[in-house]
């Protein structure tokens, strides 16, 4: 490539790419490079013929988003430009395919909307952004950090909020960077799945699901509040396979979801009454003697007390009244479920986003356990697992600076993915509840959050009580966002730092659902001035140490590929049956684990058995037995549901222009009866409002939602102010504190009304 060509490539990829530019750039760069290969090709080849293996550099990547499927990706790069991607054939789970979000990745590095350079906003929320250099940005931030440390005699004035925007293991460098600066304030917990994690820990001693590929062995499948057709598309083929082999699939959901449309039976349960339904089924199974007597005697504690509770306080009629499902149906499905061996239940995450969510998961676990379906292939109460996450967490585990002071008396986990292994020390970080971020930012004092660092998270789109969050974001003295796009969170930040996409960094990815492990190789140079989270930490450390030697222990030079390699250990190699991480370059590897969780029936509970009665649960202030827990009292006329859209993961992907081709704007969904009572017709612009705030958008009428529900999807559109968190408050769910550091949040215990605008 001569210099002019190189220049033209640089120009072409240095600005937003149109397809034409993309092709022209290829032509320019590829003309010379392709010559030798071109000469070898037969002359009669039809114009436009493409050789896929050979004409491209092929890299291994993995989707790092918060998703069941964590797809393994094969990336095709030509002349330094990502051309297209596929799913890795080597993973039987991904099987060569990705999803609608995954395939949009090809656009992401070249998106015209990408944040290209560090920028500073003159006046938070003003939109007056100007480009600064990395040096300037790091200098401003480092000076501020030194200043607050001098003022407070600790780094507790530095707060971190980070969640699931990028689950690549090396991204724990963000937490590592915080540790390396001293004792800081962390927003801990998870909005995602905490109540269910605690529930499974009380019942089983850990959250550990069967291999999803093992679902083909199930004779009966209950998809309880799970919508894999949208949120785990690759699991659907195992459900279909089980169906083809004669298994019955029952889908239980307040909404007639896409998954429900593929089931054999759909139950429209009253939202948050799933626990009552499970207990009613359990009572009937008990009455009919269909429970697995041998299993419960051998492997559980407290079954008799649970049985007494069922006999004394639960009836099928009561369950029917609570859930809205006819008794006849409850009886029929309960009997079928108990008789089918093995039978399995997939417990979705939406189901536990309620004030009684943990209790609900416990009663569903109990249904699976009493029928002897725990520890069996094709069985199990499936929720998630962390059994393949035994990395070194090299990026995370940093030393505190000499003499750092922190918070006295704090302890407990810092979220669901807490691998800190902090040594016993006099001080700890200060932990604040991530699910009440607005309140925490407003009330934290001595010191207040002076500097807020945001990475892998879109706070303003994803955290609750947004009207209050807008207030809270006025308080910190400096807000730094590490992002790829100008999200609503970046809009309220002072400095934004451009971060790499998966193709521009090296990392490693595991799933909390399937058993596969994927390496993520850097296949293209970072576009513009983007840096990975690891490199950002190193850059900040360099500047901190220049200003004040010894103020940051994070290495000042990092090689992200080397840091990725440092995450591996012999246990990982043994678990996945590989000799070295290099083997993953040939394709993802699957953990050599038994497909059934708890197959050895050695439970992780204090009693080492399945605990229908959990004393630990009682100690933590809940009920010892998986008893019914009342729902949140409605505070408005309709229930408000804000689940995932199929076009995004939380606030991600929806803004990409390729995605806009298929999903142009947000809608809310209303039952025709609810609509006609309000004089609303299909396509009207409506206002959804409650005590928290309001949202305006177009309505679609459908019986997919019950008549007492209004539904809209979580989303961030680049050209639309829509934000569902305007009408969601931050009321806690019952469980989550035990394993994730903070209780969950009752996202689906929300209420609102609708009117025509």
């Amino acid at each position: 490539m001569d210099k002019r060509d190189a220049e033209s490539v640089k120009q072409a990829i240095g600005c937003p790419m149109s397809r034409r530019k993309f092709l022209r750039c290829l032509a320019a760069a590829g003309a010379l490079a392709a010559m030798p290969g071109g000469l070898l090709r037969s002359f009669d080849a039809k114009a436009g013929k493409i050789i896929y293996e050979g004409d491209y550099e092929i890299y291994r990547n993995a989707c790092p988003r918060n998703c069941y499927d964590t797809c393994s990706i094969k990336s095709y790069v030509k002349d330094g430009v990502l051309q297209f991607i596929e799913g890795a054939k080597e993973s039987t789970f991904t099987d060569g395919g990705l999803c609608v979000k995954g395939y949009a990745y090809t656009r992401r590095p070249y998106s015209p909307d990408r944040i290209k350079y560090p920028m500073i906003q003159d006046g938070r929320g003003s939109g007056n952004w100007r480009r600064i250099s990395w040096d300037e940005a790091m200098d401003m931030i480092a000076k501020k950090l030194v200043e607050i440390n001098d003022k407070d005699d600790s780094m507790l004035g530095l707060g971190l909020t980070k969640y699931s925007g990028n689950f690549g293991i090396t991204n724990y460098a963000v937490e590592g960077m915080m540790t390396s600066l001293g004792y800081t304030t962390r927003l801990v917990g998870t909005p995602c799945w905490p109540a269910g994690i605690d529930a499974q820990n009380y019942d089983l001693g850990d959250m550990w699901c069967n291999d999803p590929e093992d679902m083909v062995n199930s004779r009966y499948i209950i998809l309880w509040g799970a919508n894999p057709a949208w949120n785990s598309v690759h699991t659907m083929k195992y459900i279909y396979a089980a169906q083809d082999r004669g298994a019955k699939v029952v889908c239980i959901d307040p909404v007639f979801t896409q998954t429900a449309a593929k089931a054999d039976v759909y139950w429209q349960v009253d939202t948050s009454m799933d626990g009552a339904l499970a207990l009613g089924m359990a009572r009937h199974i008990l009455d009919k003697g269909l429970f697995d007597k041998a299993w419960v005697e051998e492997n559980s504690v407290g079954f008799n007390e649970f049985a007494d509770y069922l006999r004394n306080e639960i009836t099928v009629q009561w369950a029917s009244e609570k859930s809205g499902i006819p008794q006849q149906q409850i009886v029929e499905v309960a009997e079928e479920f108990a008789a089918a061996k093995p039978a399995t239940i997939w417990i979705g995450y939406g189901l536990q986003r309620h004030v009684n969510g943990g209790a609900t998961v416990r009663s569903i676990d109990a249904l699976a356990a009493m029928t002897g379906n725990v520890g069996k292939t094709g069985g199990g109460a499936r929720y998630g697992h962390m059994r393949t996450w035994g990395f070194n967490y090299h990026a995370l585990l940093q030393k505190r600076p000499e003499g750092a002071k922190g918070f006295l008396g704090g302890k407990g986990p810092k979220g669901d993915f807490d691998f800190s292994g902090d040594e016993e020390a006099e001080y700890t970080d200060r932990a604040l509840n991530i699910n009440k971020t607005a309140e925490m930012l407003l009330t934290a004092d001595d010191p207040p959050i002076r500097v807020l660092w945001i990475s892998c998270k879109n706070v303003l789109s994803q955290d609750f009580d947004r009207p209050r969050m807008l207030e809270a974001f006025k308080k910190p003295e400096l807000i730094v966002s590490v992002e790829q796009f100008f999200t609503q969170t970046v809009e309220l930040s002072d400095i934004v730092l451009p971060v790499t996409t998966l193709f521009e960094e090296s990392t490693i990815n595991a799933s909390y659902w399937h058993y596969w492990l994927s390496v993520n190789e850097q296949g293209i140079k970072p576009m513009y001035e983007a840096k990975s989270n690891t490199e950002i930490a190193a850059a900040l450390s360099a500047r901190m140490n220049k200003l004040k030697p010894g103020s940051c222990t994070f290495p000042t030079e990092v090689d992200t590929r080397q840091w990725m390699i440092k995450e591996f250990n012999q246990d990982i190699y043994d678990l996945f049956g590989i000799d070295s991480w290099q083997d993953l370059k040939k394709g993802p590897a699957k953990a050599k684990m038994h497909p059934a969780s708890w197959h050895d029936l050695e439970f992780g509970t204090p009693s080492k058995k399945y605990e229908f009665r959990s004393d630990l649960c009682a100690q933590h202030g809940h009920q010892a037995l998986p008893k019914f827990k009342a729902a949140r009292k409605p505070y408005d006329k309709l229930r408000l549901l804000t689940p995932h859209t199929k076009f995004g993961i939380h606030s991600q992907f929806i803004n990409i222009d390729w995605m806009e081709e298929f999903n142009k704007k947000p809608y809310c969904y209303l039952h025709p009866t609810a609509a006609s009572e309000r004089g609303i017709t299909d396509g009207d612009q409506v206002r959804v409002f409650n005590k928290v705030g309001e949202v305006e958008l177009e309505v679609k009428l459908t019986q997919n939602v019950p008549a007492d529900v209004v539904m809209m999807y979580e989303a961030w559109f680049r050209n639309n102010a829509y934000n569902c968190q305007n009408v969601v408050d931050d009321t806690s769910s019952d469980m989550g504190k035990y394993k994730t550091g903070a209780p969950g949040v009752a996202i689906h215990d929300q209420f609102a009304d609708v009117e025509k605008v």
């Binding site: 013929k49 493409i50 799913g87 609608v100 449309a261 199929k646 019950p706």
Partner: protein, 188 residues
């Protein structure tokens, strides 16, 4: 019968996830607004639940392709070996005749190149022993590639409700109809 590749759209398995449509964009980077494969929702008259049943459609590579027949500059050809209908964009003068003519809306106008374009059945991938990008991408095997010369699926239909009937074109596409679960709704 001669070999004729076709798309088999299994609406019973299809979850309307748009993965196929995006896989196509990922492969060909079409200009904004130019879509070769789209996922069409079945209207409530056909499937009674809104946004819950779909047909994923692109070019049907018809036995008697209108696009080919109406193209004044012979920019289309039908491959002898597999019946794939290919549009040679460098020959196209952008008259729009194929776009008007195809009742399935397969050819689209590329406003930047000022020429038509359409689904190629990924013939370059086929020639390299690869499945078309959309077919490979489908997570539920609801979109498949079949050879009509050998295809023998009793439940398959060529013109399901929601798909226009043009026997003179004989579109190379087959469908399986969507199903519905037993519905238990609570009373309010």
């Amino acid at each position: 019968m001669k070999k004729q590749l076709a798309f088999y759209i299994d609406a019973k398995r299809c979850i309307g996830c748009f993965t196929c449509a995006m896989a196509c964009k990922n492969q060909y980077h079409q200009e904004s607004g130019v879509i070769w494969r789209d996922v069409y929702e079945l209207k409530e008259e056909i499937y009674p639940h809104r946004e819950r049943a779909f047909y994923s459609l692109a070019c049907n590579h018809c036995e008697n392709p209108t696009c080919l027949n109406v193209c004044p500059v012979v920019a289309y050809y039908k491959r002898e070996a597999d019946g794939v209908v290919v549009h040679e964009q460098d020959k196209c003068i952008g008259c729009g005749n194929c776009i008007r003519s195809c009742p399935y809306g397969a050819p689209r106008y590329n406003p930047v190149l000022k020429r038509a374009e359409k689904c190629s059945f990924c013939w370059q991938r086929l020639d390299d022993d690869r499945k078309p990008a959309c077919v490979l991408s489908c997570p539920t095997e609801a979109l498949q590639i079949v050879d009509l010369a050998e295809f023998d699926e009793a439940n398959a239909v060529q013109y399901p409700a929601g798909f226009p009937r043009y026997p003179s074109l004989n579109p190379s596409v087959r469908f399986r109809l969507p199903a519905m679960p037993k519905m238990i709704r609570r009373k309010l």
